[in-house]
Every structure is written in C-alpha cells, then in structure tokens.
C-alpha cells in the first residue's frame, strides 16, 4: 500500500479502509450503472471526528472525494471519482435525539429516510419528504440532493424539513448551519447547502422537522383511456382549489411493470392511472373527498377506486414507489429521466415525449409526480444493440431541453450529478454558473469535494488520463 493510504489507514480502527479490488468493485456505481469509476479506496467513518479526519487527509494530499450513504443516486451524484476517496457514511446511522414536544429528530447522515417516520410513529409524528427510495436512501443523501417525493406537492422538498446541519467543509473545518428554531438569523446558509450535491461539504448531524401524522387518508385510483385525459384531470383538480397530499400518474408501461413487481391490483388495460391522495382531519377530508369525486367523474375516468383500508392504500403506493426499479422487468437497460414542466403544460409535454419516443424508436415509460409537474420518463433501451445507448441519451437530452423550453427545469429531485451536467447551460446563463462556481471555490479551492459533478464541462480529474501528480511523486499508487 502506498504511504498516503497507510497514513489514512492509521487514522482509523482496523477494517475501516477498503482498498483491495474485491472490496472496491461493488462501490464502482450508484443506482446509475451507465457510469462506473474505481475509487482509490473506501473509508467507513463512524463519527464526526472520523469524517473530519478523512476530509483533512484528502485536503492534505489533494485527493478528491465523494461521500455517499446507500449509493442510490439516479443521477450518478454518488459515483466515485477515479483514484479518489469514497467516504461511506452508511455506518453513521444512529438516531441521536428525538424530541416529540419540539417535534424534531437529530440523525446521523446514514440514517434511512423511512426510519425517521418509524421512529417518530409512536408519538403520532412523521417525516414528510418521501422519495420513492425512502426504504433505503439516507438523510445525508436526501439533504445533499434536496430530494422530493410524491407528497412534496403539499409539503415541499427536503430543504423545507431540515432545520440544522453540522457540516465538515472541504478544508476539514466544522460549521453549524441553521438552528432548531424555525426562524433564521442572517442568510439561509442551510438553504444554500441543501441540494449542493456534496460540493460544499459533508453533513454529519442533521436536525429534521417532524409533522403530526394526518388523521385520515383518502386515496383514489382513477383509470383513463389516454395519458392526456389523466394530465388534464390533474389540472382540473388543481383548478378546483383542492390541495391533495399527492397526485401521481403512471402510463401503461409503468403500470405493467409495477403490477408485475408488487401485484398492487392496478387495472392493467388502463392507458394511464391517476393516484390522488387527500389527507388531514377527518371532517375536512370527507368534505374534500366528495368534491374530488365530482372533479374526477367529470375528467372522463372510466374506472374509479377508493382505498378502503390502510393495507389497500399501502398497496397502491407500493406499486407506484417500486415502478422505477420494476421497469427492469421490461428492459435490460433504461434511463430514468427527471424533468419539470409547469403543471398547465403537462398534456403538451406528454404529447411531445410520445412523439420523441416514436421518432427515436425507443419505448418511454412515464411515472411522475403530476401535481408539481415533475416528469419521470423512463427511456427503455438495450445497451447490447449498437448505438442504442447513444440514441437513448440523445432522447433523454431532447426531453430535458423540452422541459426548459416549456418553462420548467432539468431536474425535479434526482439532482444533476453526472447525468445532467451537460444540460446546466440550457438552464443557466454563463454568469449564473460563474457565480455558483465562485461560491464553491471559496469553500473548496482545490475542487476536491465531489469533483466532476454538477458543473458542466470536464474537470481536471476526468480529463486526466495520465498519472496523478502524487503518483508521479511516488506518494500514492493505484495498487
């Protein structure tokens, strides 16, 4: 082992530094397997001080690093850097404090999203942001990518539910952002940190806001014979003044996949399914439910079902939340796209995606958070067929450009990561990106933290094919 790695190994108890090929291979990808990179080593810290030690070592030896929790990023955000250090935070998975009176939970970054709600359940509380990956994705990653989920329509994204964070900056310094109180003093530093995709530092303690669990849910499943009708129904629900907890649409391919995976009882012949969920206090939900029924009836649904029990409700959601991975049953490869359009232009966007799908001769499955216009087209391709991946990537790019052209955004919740950095220029002007880069460089002049992600263009680490300066100097080696 090279001297720098030996030095790092000595900073940790035995067994925490992984560097053999068999140990590194499983870390080469996150949930976007189109990208792979082998890190120099993986370190598994179990405390704030250990994270700090790892980051300081990186700063000292100018080695870029990536922090990751469960490695479930769909944008390649937690992809390792070739020859860099991977800081695995999955063992930092403790609940440090839960205060049911103040309604806050303090967790380590490796704590799993769903576990927050499980821990809070005995007090009648829960944690609102619910990405589909919530049984596995971690709060640290949710904060870094400002994750959303089906219920963000009503409650907002992760940034709306994080009160404070203790952060190790790229130079190894520790700062505290935000506070337990809802009112902030000075600029919203924590807001800047949320969604910064690991470029500004590593959160080691995160304070979350908990909400009282809704008393009642009313979950409606409506089947349509066209995707456009389902899209129009969403606009109609919003126009009616109702604010459901969630509004989701799945098209026929997504229905087929989800049904095969979890047998949720979805009508298989439907061209589109709309899931609308009302939640809140019982009298209010009952009144809203009657109103919603009218709106849905008028929207041309040919079949409407209401979940009669909590089991039925969970089944409906399980199908929806398994949909991405379930598409693996339909195609050996697919790209999960994540773009946003204004709600009122959903129908137009879906129509355009259908045309693009036909033009590129690639199937596109649609699963999306319709309520906030967050589209998730899944582009199905077979990587074994010459040129198909390239076509799929082009199609994905066309969809993103379409989103921007319609007045939306290139990402709703998955982040930019590797996948979308080339499209940042579609969304931002040069001056916007330059300002972001200045902020980043102020905190990380060596560009060590998650180097090569989010910002467009190649970075020194990626364009670099020869030996690292430290390799040339004999300080590090790849074996």
């Amino acid at each position: 082992m090279n001297p720098a790695l030996t030095e790092l190994e000595r900073l940790f108890p035995p067994g925490r530094l992984l560097h053999k090929p068999g140990e590194l291979v499983p870390y080469e990808s996150d949930a976007l397997t189109a990208f792979r990179a082998r890190p120099l080593a993986v370190v598994l810290p179990e405390s704030h001080a250990e994270v700090q030690a790892a980051v300081r070592w990186c700063a000292k030896h100018q080695i870029p690093y990536v922090a990751r929790g469960s490695g479930t990023s769909l944008s390649g955000g937690s992809l390792p850097i070739d020859g860099g250090l991977l800081i695995g935070l999955n063992r930092m998975n403790r609940l440090l404090r839960l205060d049911p009176v103040e309604r806050i939970a303090v967790v380590q970054p490796g704590f799993i999203n769903l576990q927050v709600s499980n821990a809070a359940a005995p007090y009648g509380l829960y944690y609102a942001p619910d990405p589909s990956s919530q049984p596995v994705s971690t709060i640290g990653g949710n904060l870094a990518f400002n994750s959303g989920g089906a219920h963000c329509l009503k409650y907002g994204m992760t940034s709306n539910h994080v009160l404070a964070a203790k952060v190790v900056l790229p130079d190894g310094e520790t700062v505290e952002l935000g506070s337990e109180s809802l009112e902030n003093t000075g600029p919203d530093w924590l807001g800047l940190f949320a969604g910064s995709e690991g470029l500004l530092g590593i959160a080691t303690e995160i304070t979350l806001r908990l909400l009282p669990k809704p008393e009642t849910y009313h979950t409606v499943l409506a089947a349509y014979d066209s995707l456009a009708k389902a899209g129009e129904a969403v606009a109609a629900v919003v126009a009616s003044g109702l604010l459901p907890g969630a509004m989701e649409i799945m098209d026929s391919l997504a229905i087929e996949a989800a049904e095969a995976a979890v047998k949720a009882g979805y009508p298989l012949e439907a061209r589109a399914l709309l899931i609308v969920e009302l939640e809140g206090e019982t009298p209010q939900v009952e009144a809203e439910a009657r109103y919603l029924e009218e709106v849905i009836q008028k929207s041309g649904a040919y079949e409407v079902r209401v979940a009669r029990s909590n089991e039925e409700r969970l089944k409906i959601w399980k199908g929806r939340k398994a949909a991405f991975s379930a598409v693996g049953r339909l195609s050996p490869d697919y790209i999960v796209q994540d773009g946003v359009v204004p709600r009122s232009r959903l129908g137009q966007a879906l129509q355009a995606i259908e045309e693009l799908s036909a033009r590129y001769s690639l199937r596109v499955a649609n699963v999306f958070h319709a309520g906030d216009g967050n589209l998730h087209p899944l582009i199905l391709y077979n990587g074994r067929l010459e040129g198909e991946l390239h076509r799929a990537e082009e199609l994905a790019g066309e969809i993103l450009k379409l989103c921007v052209a319609l007045g939306g955004s290139i990402t709703g919740e998955h982040g930019v990561g590797m996948e979308k950095k080339a499209y940042m220029t579609e969304m931002f002007r040069e001056a916007d990106l330059a300002a972001m880069q200045r902020i980043r460089l102020a905190l990380d002049p060596q560009e060590l933290a998650n180097r090569g992600k989010m910002f467009p263009g190649e970075t020194p680490a990626q364009s670099f094919h020869g030996a690292h300066p430290l390799e040339k100097a004999g300080v590090i080696s790849r074996e």
Partner: protein, 426 residues
C-alpha cells in the same frame, strides 16, 4: 445491467447467471433486506454488491479469490428476492455461481475435510446420528477445539432423541380426502423426530393418506447451496424416481427441503431430466399450504390463551412466498394469539450449514433474532424449519430464556391432542 459474460462458453448454467445479472438495476432496494449488509455495513456484503462481484468474475475482470470471501458470507436467505422490485432471481444466481466456482477454487485440506464431513453425514440420517453421538462426546473437550469445530457442537442437543423409523404408508383416519407423498427430511429425523410424528398425525387426522417412498434421499439443497452441484444432481435424480408416482401432492415440512425440491428445474436446466424436474417441482407443497387448501378439520380450543410468535423461515417466506398460510393455520387454533416478531423478515442466521461455516455472523444474527422474539412477548415460538428451530433454541438458551420452540405442526398436533403446552419440547 449490462454485462459481457460469455454465455455460450459457460453453457446452460451461464444462461441462468447472465439472466439474473441482466435483471439487476443496482437500485439498492435490497440493502435493508440483507442480513449481512445490516451486520457488516459494507457494499460487498450486500446483494447488489455480490451481483457486481459475480459479474466481474464471470466476465474475467476479477480474480475469483478476490470475490470469494464476500460470496461465502451470503446466507442464501433470499430476503433480497422479496425486496427486489426488478425481479432478480438472486437465489438461482448464487446457487448456480457456487456450483460453477466450487470445482475451481482452492481450499485448505482442513476446509476440504470439514466440508466433506458435512456433506457425507448431514444428508444421511444414520450417519448423522452416529456423528451426533460422537459429537456429544466431543462436547467434553469442546474448549480445546478450533472454532470451526465448536460451532456444530454448540448446536447439538443435550440428549439425542430415540430414532423413530417411519412406516411406508400412514393411512388416513376416517374418510380419505387425499393421498400424498412425503419427503421426510434428513437432519430433522435425527434431531427432532417429533416434527414428522406430529405432521403425520395431523395429516392422518385430516383424512390424508401419506406415502413415504422408500427410495427417497436428501433433497440435495444442502449440496446445491454449497456449490456441490454433482452431489445435488445425484440426490435429485434419486428423488425424481422415488416421487414419480401419482399423488395429489408431494409434501415437505421443512422449509429448506421444500424450496430445495422447487429448485430442481434450475438444477436440471439444460439436463435431460429438465421437464421431469419441472413436473415434480410443480407438485411440491409445504404441509401448511396443503392443509389450508384442503380445509383443516376443526381444532378444539386450547386450555388457556397462548401468545404465539410465528418465525418466518427464509426458505418458506422468501424462497417460496409462503407467509400467510402457516399463520392462518395457527389462527385456526382457538386460543392462539398470534404476535409478530419485530424485523421478522430478517434471517435468523441458520441458513443450512451457514452457522457451521460462518459461525460469527450466524451468532450475531441468532442473538438478534432471539432478542426480537423475546421483545414480541410470545410464550411459544413456532417455525416450519429444523435449521431455524435449532438456531432459535440455541440462542434463546444463550440469553438464559428457554422459551418453548415448536414446529407449526407440533402446535397443531398438541391442540388436537389437547396436550398441555407447558411440558417442554417433545
């Protein structure tokens, strides 16, 4: 997931492995369901990590030895199969991979001897009984033995029950409602003959005639799951013959054996007996499933209410998807209050010979399971697999809490017999 595995060169077994790897999208939903990831917290000890490792070895990019330690740590519990949204047949992958890699790998003479020892005794009740007797003598010198030999001794009971030879036919009591063939299981015949006794009684009471075909052998699961494919095929061929008769169903009362028989189509993939294996597998049922479908005769109420925890054996719940049926059987006993074990979907660490080959991880999981069982407030633990039974009993005892552990059919039999439940294990 894309791969460059040379399927043609690997043959029919390669097809099985490549198909499973293709289905994985690396989403990570398997992580929370994997016992070794939960205990070790490292990606290479997770299902998707292991899939990556197998892929790299099969593609020739990684030395087999580099991947081996992590693949050896896989319990084969298939908790990941239940959690997987994209339908990766992980169980088929790991068994096939082990069968492919075992003949090529290096093992120390001691390891080889240990493995041969297990393969040559456990599947044969008479040999296993003799070995277990010897093992009880070994208990006297246990502190002096290497850890690898300590683990099997720890799992041996204080006293070995009398051997109970099984008749070839057990007639139905009253009107005959069905005629089935029964696989008697290997280890359970030696360690817990009460399992079969209870099962056969309950079946007879429910009007089922049971045939225990003489020519039967071990199902082969033990060999298959440890990479001894040749041995597994031998056992399976014997059973294809022994169970060829015309029965309403082929029953097992051990989760591992049931899933073992159901794996025959994978085992025989590309072999001449492929179709025959599929026919046999289609007729295999766990005794709990069969009884529920048949309609259980009324069970008299227990003398007092009883809190019962049902422990899901992985090879019933994950490998065969059997979860509701045993619970429903237990609920049909008036007086039984069924409680759920927290984290119930996680393996207890028994997993065939895993607790003998990876004693440290197995013990961590065993203790975790025992603590959860105690937390459930149950008075009795019920399960449908001999391995889980032994593991749970051992770890409850280690915690100083000797809860009564029974096979599902034992509780049912006692309810029929109005037996007192405080007597202790039969």
């Amino acid at each position: 997931m894309q791969h460059k595995i040379d399927v043609e060169q690997l043959g029919p077994q390669g097809e099985i492995m490549a198909h499973a790897i293709e289905a994985c999208v690396h989403c990570g939903f398997c992580l929370p369901a994997c016992p070794t990831y939960q205990v070790l917290g490292e990606e290479m000890d997770s299902p998707r990590g292991r899939i990556f490792l197998m892929k790299e070895v099969l593609e020739g990019n990684l030395q087999m030895e580099e991947a081996q330690p992590y693949l050896d740590k896989c319990l084969g519990c298939q908790g990941c199969v239940t959690a997987c949204p994209s339908g990766v047949p992980y169980g088929e992958l790991i068994s096939t991979y082990r069968g492919w890699s075992e003949p090529q790998r290096h093992r120390s003479p001691f390891q080889k001897l240990f493995r041969i020892g297990l393969q040559e005794t456990l599947p044969y009740p008479a040999r296993f009984r003799a070995a277990a007797r010897l093992g009880r003598l070994g208990k006297l010198v246990q502190p002096l033995l290497p850890p690898m030999l300590k683990a099997p001794l720890e799992l041996l009971p204080e006293a070995l029950p009398q051997s109970e030879p099984l008749p070839e036919i057990i007639p139905a009591l009253g009107e005959r409602r069905a005629r089935v063939a029964f696989l008697a299981g290997c280890a359970q015949q030696v360690l817990q003959p009460g399992f079969n006794r209870a099962t056969l009684r309950v079946l007879a009471q429910n009007g089922v005639e049971v045939v225990i075909p003489k020519g039967q052998s071990c199902c082969g699961a033990l060999a298959l799951h440890t990479g001894e494919r040749g041995r597994a095929l031998q056992f399976a061929r014997t059973n294809l013959k022994a169970f060829a008769g015309d029965y309403d169903a082929i029953l097992t009362n051990a989760a591992g054996c049931g899933s073992g028989l159901k794996e025959y189509p994978v085992l025989f993939h590309g072999e001449p007996e492929q179709a025959q294996a599929a026919q046999l597998a289609a007729r295999v049922k766990d005794v709990s499933v069969f009884l529920l479908e048949l309609g259980l005769k009324e069970v008299p109420p227990l003398k007092r209410p009883l809190k019962v925890a049902y422990h899901d054996a992985c090879h019933l719940a994950h490998a065969q998807g059997v979860r509701a049926e045993p619970r429903q059987l237990l609920r049909s006993i008036p007086g039984v209050e069924l409680v759920e074990i927290p984290e119930g979907e996680l393996c207890c660490g028994s997993a065939g010979t895993y607790n003998l080959e990876q004693p440290a991880i197995a013990a961590t999981l065993g203790e975790r399971k025992a603590r959860h069982i105690l937390a459930s407030g149950a008075e009795v633990v019920v399960t449908g697999n001999i391995g889980c039974f032994t593991q749970i009993q051992t770890h409850l005892k280690k915690l100083g809490r000797e809860l009564l552990v029974l096979h599902t059919l034992e509780l049912l039999e006692r309810a029929y017999a109005q037996a007192a439940l405080q007597e202790g294990p039969s």
